[in-house]
């Protein structure tokens, strides 16, 4: 992996493979992969590609038959697997809470194994319950069967974070949850991760979840062969082969626009006038530009009207009463996907960008978006061309 800001590698898989006894075909062929510290790496691929197996090779729930696992600089291929697992959080789709233990006791599992003091454990449990948004006073002494699916999954995450491991392995953690709750849990988890900065390996079969959750995505083919390993932006902009292209499916350009923000693009040179000016001046401004529409700002610099030639006559009615209203504006931190959405609703086919106070910043049009898409694809292509030259 060559990257601009090469972060430290937390987990290094070096030719790790698994061949089950009695078979010739490996479940996981030799896999080499670097998981950077503090990032979410998503393993995604079709069913049966071995992505779960790969995940379970990392904490040696499945013992690899070849290769080495380097964890935080140490070769852990031969260490006591139980001790290794206590350093790695593990969340599975079925959650697997212990039904005979309270929520507090479930969350305390690893701290107890590590021999923490009772008071440390208690305060850690409350901290974690708070962190995942469950009121400790209410949930501490409940039993798993008294939780909803979403609550149980939060407890599952809290339990995996029990002893504050640097690494978290998550095997389709939100797979068995209804779409609305899943969306909420994903967002909460991303917010949590922005504070915790854990190194996370995340398995899913859902490319949209992968794009949403991943800092990097490894698209896996048969026997966990890496088809492409990159940031979601680059994968969407430049799928390396047909397999990846098929897998990410249609609409990848649209999805790619989610990764670019309005503040990062150059605004169009757009004709603008103040509400107070006369029609003649407005007409001149419009004529000097190549645009069809003129944007009218009020005294506080807020965009208020779209005006075109037909509204500019000799009546000299105030411009603020002419033309069509500016119905939608967006702020600079919005994504280009949002911008596109608003453009489709806008009278002029353009969308106004405003700051927090509503003051005009610039205008974005459809051509800006095509430029950005072009640039993303070219950059990704160049990136891969460079890689090819190097190798």
């Amino acid at each position: 992996m060559t990257d601009d800001s090469a972060p430290k590698t937390m987990i290094h898989l070096d030719g790790v493979g698994k061949i089950y006894p009695g078979t010739d075909v490996p479940a996981v062929a030799s896999l080499t992969l670097d998981i950077p510290e503090g990032e979410i790496v998503v393993l995604v691929g079709p069913s049966g590609c071995g992505k779960s197996t790969t995940l379970r090779l990392i904490n040696r729930m499945i013992e690899p038959t070849s290769g080495r696992i380097i964890f935080d600089g140490d070769d852990v291929t031969g260490v006591n697997p139980d001790e290794l697992r206590r350093r790695i959080g593990y969340v599975i789709q079925q959650i697997g809470l212990f039904p005979h233990q309270t929520i507090a006791s479930n969350i305390a599992t690893v701290p107890k194994l590590l021999g923490w003091s009772k008071s440390d454990i208690n305060s850690r449990v409350d901290e974690l319950l708070d962190m995942v948004g469950l009121e400790p006073g209410v949930f501490r002494d409940r039993y798993p069967k008294e939780l909803s699916g979403g609550q149980a999954q939060r407890v599952g995450v809290a339990r995996a974070l029990g002893a504050d491991p640097a690494v978290l392995l998550m095997d389709e953690p939100f797979g068995a949850i209804d779409p609305i709750t899943r969306e909420r849990l994903q967002n909460e988890f991303l917010r949590l991760q922005s504070e915790l900065k854990k190194t996370i390996v995340f398995v899913t079969h859902d490319i949209d979840e992968a794009i949403k959750m991943g800092d990097r995505i490894a698209i896996l083919g048969d026997q966990s062969r890496i088809a492409q390993f990159d940031t979601p932006e680059r994968i969407l902009a430049y799928p390396v082969d047909d397999f990846v292209d098929d897998f990410i499916g249609s609409g990848s350009t649209l999805k790619g626009l989610n990764f670019e923000r309005v503040r990062d693009v150059d605004f169009d040179d757009y004709p603008v006038v103040r509400a107070g000016v006369g029609h003649t001046e407005a007409r001149t401004t419009l004529a000097e530009s190549s645009e069809q529409w003129l944007l009218v700002l009020d005294q506080a610099d807020r965009p208020v009207r779209w005006v075109d030639e037909t509204y500019l006559d000799s009546t000299d009615k105030p411009l603020i009463e002419r033309g069509l209203p500016v119905k939608v504006t967006i702020e600079p931190q919005a994504t280009l996907r949002d911008a596109l959405e608003e453009m489709l609703l806008s009278s002029s086919g353009h969308v106004c960008v405003v700051d927090g106070k509503g003051a005009f910043q610039g205008v974005v049009g459809i051509l800006t978006l095509t430029d950005v898409i072009d640039r993303m694809q070219t950059e990704a292509q160049e990136h891969y061309d460079q890689l090819r030259e190097v190798s």
Partner: protein, 355 residues
């Protein structure tokens, strides 16, 4: 649930019903371990009332039935009642979906009544049989209440219980241990269960006697203890294996994933979760051996079997039927007490989250 129907299980391997009943134990809230006092008082009144009425009637057939019925209702009623009430409370709290609640209270009451009637009828039949065989047992109550006889009954009862419990102690260690091993090493499952099933097919009299020539066993209680422990293997081992294999695999997987060693998983996760099923196996095995223990007397052991044997050797003489009857009745009572004990044990030892 404390039922009397367990007696029926003594003649064969563990039925599926009992295993499933234990695998999905009824849901009860946190107060479940403690029986509420009101039904207990009602139960106690029933017991005392039945005994008083029974003796007042004069120790004949009617009195006996009244006593036994009162005992059953008084002892099992509070348990069932408390269970039903706690469940209703949980449904009201919204902590238990109504669909999970199991049979309604009405069905429970009907079930309890029909159990009581069935057992009472069975006892009545037995009594009729004895009455027919011995031209009446009207004097039986007086016979067992003779001063020295009360002592003897007490001694024999304690001997019988000791025999059963000692045997069960060893049977549990061996059976649960073998069950755990067979669960872990799949290929041992067939052989272990096969051997346990084979034990059950050996005629009990023969098995009791087989140990006599062995010098450190000889005659006395040791042979029967070993034999009974052998009979107990199938239900214990089978329920241990079933209980362990019914533990949700994702629970074991997550325990492993968090770094619990195999032993920690067994001790903290698998055994507690399998425990209700294992306990059912122990219960069935115990009731199985209570009956078989009567044979111990034939190889020089103690227990209530002695009354039965006394009765048989005095066949045709006075008090022969009274003696046999004494042995049988107190074995039944002991079985009922042990069953009740298991019911309470289950209630007290089942982890709260599973109830």
């Amino acid at each position: 649930m404390v039922t009397l129907g367990r007696w029926c299980l003594r003649c064969g391997p563990v039925s599926n019903d009992s295993q499933q009943a234990a695998a999905t134990p009824p849901a009860i809230n946190e107060n479940a371990g403690t029986l509420s006092y009101r039904p207990l008082i009602v139960g106690a009144v029933l017991v005392v009332g039945a005994v008083v009425v029974g003796f007042a009637v004069g120790g004949n057939l009617g009195g006996l039935i009244v006593i036994v019925t009162g005992l059953i209702m008084g002892l099992t009623g509070p348990v069932n009642f408390a269970e039903g009430r706690n469940k209703l409370a949980m449904i009201a709290d919204g902590r238990l979906p109504a669909a999970d609640a199991g049979p309604s209270r009405m069905k429970k009451i009907l079930g309890a009544i029909s159990t009581v009637i069935a057992v009472a009828l069975a006892i009545a039949l037995l009594v009729l049989l004895f009455t027919w065989a011995a031209d009446g047992i009207g004097n039986w109550f007086e016979w067992i209440r003779a001063a020295d006889r009360e002592d003897e009954i007490r001694t024999r009862l304690v001997e019988h219980a000791q025999l059963v419990l000692t045997s069960m102690f060893w049977a549990t260690i061996v059976g649960v241990g073998a069950g755990i091993v067979a669960h872990r090493f799949d290929f041992l499952r067939g052989p272990f269960l096969g051997i346990a099933a084979f034990f059950l097919t050996i005629p009990s009299f023969a098995l009791f006697a087989v140990f006599i020539p062995i010098s450190f066993i000889g005659i006395g209680d040791r042979g029967p203890i070993i034999a009974m422990a052998m009979y107990a293997q199938l239900p214990i081992m089978r329920n241990t294996i079933t209980g362990l294999s019914e533990v949700d695999p994702s629970v074991v997987e997550s325990a492993k994933g968090m770094g619990m060693s195999a032993f920690q998983r067994l001790r903290k996760i698998e055994m507690p979760l399998a425990w209700p099923v294992i306990l059912t196996g122990l219960r069935v095995a115990t009731l199985l051996t209570v009956g078989i223990a009567a044979i111990a007397v034939l190889v020089g052991g103690g227990g209530l079997g002695r009354f039965v044997q006394d009765g048989l050797t005095r066949h045709g003489l006075p008090t022969a039927i009274e003696r046999t009857w004494t042995g049988v009745v107190f074995i039944l009572i002991l079985a009922q007490l042990l069953d009740l004990g298991f019911g309470l044990l289950r209630r007290l030892t089942t982890p709260k989250g599973l109830k």
